[in-house]
Structure formats: C-alpha cells, structure tokens
C-alpha cells in the first residue's frame, strides 16, 4: 500500500508518484503522513516538504506556504513556489 502524492504549483506539477511517507510543516507543527492516514486538510508554513518515494529515495522541497490535503491515500500538496 502506498500513497499517491502530487506536489503542484500554479505553473507546473512538480512531483507526482507513489510514496510511502510524506512530511510537511503545518501551522500547528511538523506532520508526518503514512498510508491510511485520516482525511486531513492543513495549512502549511514556509519550510521543507520531504517525500519518501516507494523506491526508497527521499526528495526534499522548500515550499513557501500552501496546503496539504490527505484523503484515501491520496496526498496533494499545493504551494505557490517550490525549490528543491
């Protein structure tokens, strides 16, 4: 079982694929998401988002604000600007 992750910005889809773990920083603090997480909608603050792909590689992105939504093993991260 894996998570279907999409990291999108207004101008492009930055990352999409299968992952086993996603971590991001919301206004409430750091948050890690594994499979079968309860539906969640969070507001992100500036900080790092890291995605551990199902092939074992970890990718880090710096995002400036944005949103994180989780439902049915589908994670989407919306942000205005991304740098890796």
């Amino acid at each position: 079982m894996t998570l279907k992750v999409e990291l999108v910005s207004p101008s492009e889809r930055v990352w999409s694929g299968e992952a086993t773990f996603v971590s991001a920083r919301t206004v409430e603090g750091d948050l890690g998401i594994l499979t079968d997480h309860a539906p969640l909608f969070g507001v992100l603050v500036d900080g790092a988002v890291s995605i551990k792909g199902s092939d074992g590689t970890t990718t880090q992105f710096n995002v400036s604000g944005g949103f994180l939504s989780v439902s049915n093993n589908r994670v989407s991260i919306l942000t205005e600007t991304v740098s890796s």
Binding site: T26, V27, G42, V43, F67, S69
Partner: protein
C-alpha cells in the same frame, strides 16, 4: 515608364512589404499559441486541486466566511475585464469589452453600481476614451502573464471585497470576471463568470472527486478557509489570464493569416493591372511609331 505603371508598381511594393510583416506576425503567434496552451495545461492540476479543496471545506464546515456568504443588500459589484495590450488580433479585445458591457448592463439593471478593473491596454484605452472611471488597471503582460501578475490583480480585488461595501466606497459585494475562454485553435469565447461570492462549484468539467471525505482541519476550518480562498481567487484569475493569452495569440494568428491572404489577392490583381498598363503603353507606342512613319511616308510621297 508610364505614370500609370509606376503607380501600380509602387502600390505592389508597399503591399508586399505589408505582407512580409503580417506573415511574420502570423508565424510568431502560431508558435506562441502552443506555448500558451501548454501553460494553461500546466496550471490545471493546481486549479483542480484547489477547487476540490475549496468545495470540500465549504461543504463540510459550517463556518460563515465573508468570502462565501452573499450580501443581503448588494450595492456594488467589481467587474474584471481581461483584454489585450496590442491590437492586430481581430475582434479579440472588442469581444471581451463588449461582454463586459453586457454584464455591466445586467448588473446595473439589478440596481448595482459597477466598478471596473481592467487588464490590458486595449480595455484601458476604451474606458479612458469614454471618460469612464477605472477602479484599477494593469497593463504590459497580457500575452505572457505570470502568477505574480495574477496575484497582484487578485489581491486588490480581494481587498475591495473584504472592505465593507455598506460603509466604504471602495468596497464591493460581488466580483465578476470577463475573459476569453480558449476552447480550441479555432474557437475562443468571451465569457463572464462570477468569482465571489462563491457559487457552489461551477466549473464545467466535473472535478474528479467522487465523495468528498470528512476532513480534519488543521488548525480549524475557519483558518483554512481564510488561507484557501485568496489562493483560490488567485488561481482563478491566473487561469483566466492564461486562457485569455492563448486566445489572444490564436485571434492574432487568424487575423494575420487573413491579412496575408488579402495581401496576396491584392498583389495578384495589381500585377494584372500593371501588366495591362504596360501592354497598353507598348501598344500606344507602336501605333504612334507606325502613325509617325505613315505620316512621313505620305509627306515625302506628296513632295515628289
């Protein structure tokens, strides 16, 4: 060379020069449409995700957010018109402006005061020429808008919306947007849509949702909506700008193509006329020479 022939040649030269220009513009626009289209496609996932999120939050939270509730007694409405900076695009800008006029008439019939926000030099000139009041205008990026531009426009719209229209003169109760939808290379439609207050998901293509899940909100639904709605408006404005840019290029390509075709036609008929003029000149010269020779011959024959 006769005078008539010279005039025809001069006109042909000028038409040929014009044709070169229109041909070049046609090719440039054709190459830019593809790029503009790609940008529209690239922005779609973000817009879709946001729409999904907004509808989820709006459906499952009972928060009464100012951005989602309709005013009981609306006074003013803002209309954002997206047009082009440059001409040579056929009726593209005019169509958008006309659509805006119709919308304004409709709003006025409802008893609302209309405030105009304009993007693109063409719309600004149109309003300035008629001495109409402009609440805000942005120019210089109509053929290649970036997210920053959209943000700038959206920010001032949201600011006007948040200001209480009952008290402040700058406040508005509704925000409408007029843009040109890019359907295909051949079809572009000027259309008007209401952005705020939100209509319950009014996108034509149903966002692939299925049942919306019961979200937990972090930190809470109110804060999430606060953060989400401005982004949503920005994304809508950005999408409208991108579509308009693609439409502008398509309209320009079409206009320039017909200009090139017309120039071709004109050159063809001018060539015919020039040929006829040249031939007439030659015929006249021959008959003059023959006539002159005849006259000489009969004159010398008479003297003998």
């Amino acid at each position: 060379m006769g005078a008539q022939l010279r005039i025809y040649r001069r006109r042909m030269r000028s038409v040929k020069a014009t044709k070169k220009i229109t041909k070049a513009m046609e090719l440039i626009s054709a190459s830019r449409i593809v790029k503009a289209q790609q940008r529209v496609t690239a922005s779609t996932p973000y817009a879709n995700e946001l729409t999904r999120a907004v509808s989820a939050v709006a459906t499952y939270s009972s928060t009464n957010h100012p951005l989602t509730t309709e005013s009981e007694r609306p006074i003013r409405a803002a209309v954002l018109i997206i047009s082009a900076d440059r001409g040579m695009a056929g009726a593209y800008s005019n169509n958008a402006i006309k659509e805006g006029e119709q919308l304004a008439a409709l709003l006025k019939a409802r008893g609302l005061e209309v405030k105009s926000y304009l993007v693109g030099r063409k719309a600004v000139n149109y309003y300035r020429f008629r001495n109409r009041e402009i609440a805000g205008s942005w120019t210089g990026f109509s053929d290649n808008p970036t997210y920053e531009h959209a943000k700038e426009v959206a920010d001032s719209l949201i600011k006007a919306f948040i200001a209480d229209a009952q008290v402040e003169l700058s406040g508005v109760d509704e925000i409408h947007i007029v843009f040109t939808e890019f359907k295909s290379m051949l079809t572009q439609n000027a259309m008007a849509k209401r952005m705020l207050p939100l209509e319950v998901v009014e996108s034509d293509a149903p966002v692939p949702t299925g049942l919306l899940p019961m979200y937990e909100f972090e930190p809470n639904a109110g804060v999430v909506l606060d953060a989400l709605l401005p982004r949503y408006i920005e994304a809508r404005v950005f999408n409208a700008m991108l579509q308009s840019a693609a439409s502008e290029h398509a309209a320009r390509r079409r206009a320039m193509k017909s200009a090139t075709d017309n120039a071709d036609e004109l050159i063809k008929s001018l060539t015919r006329l020039a040929n006829a003029a040249r031939q007439a000149e030659i015929t006249q010269e021959i008959s003059e020479i023959v006539g002159g020779a005849d006259a000489l011959a009969s004159a010398s024959a008479g003297s003998e």
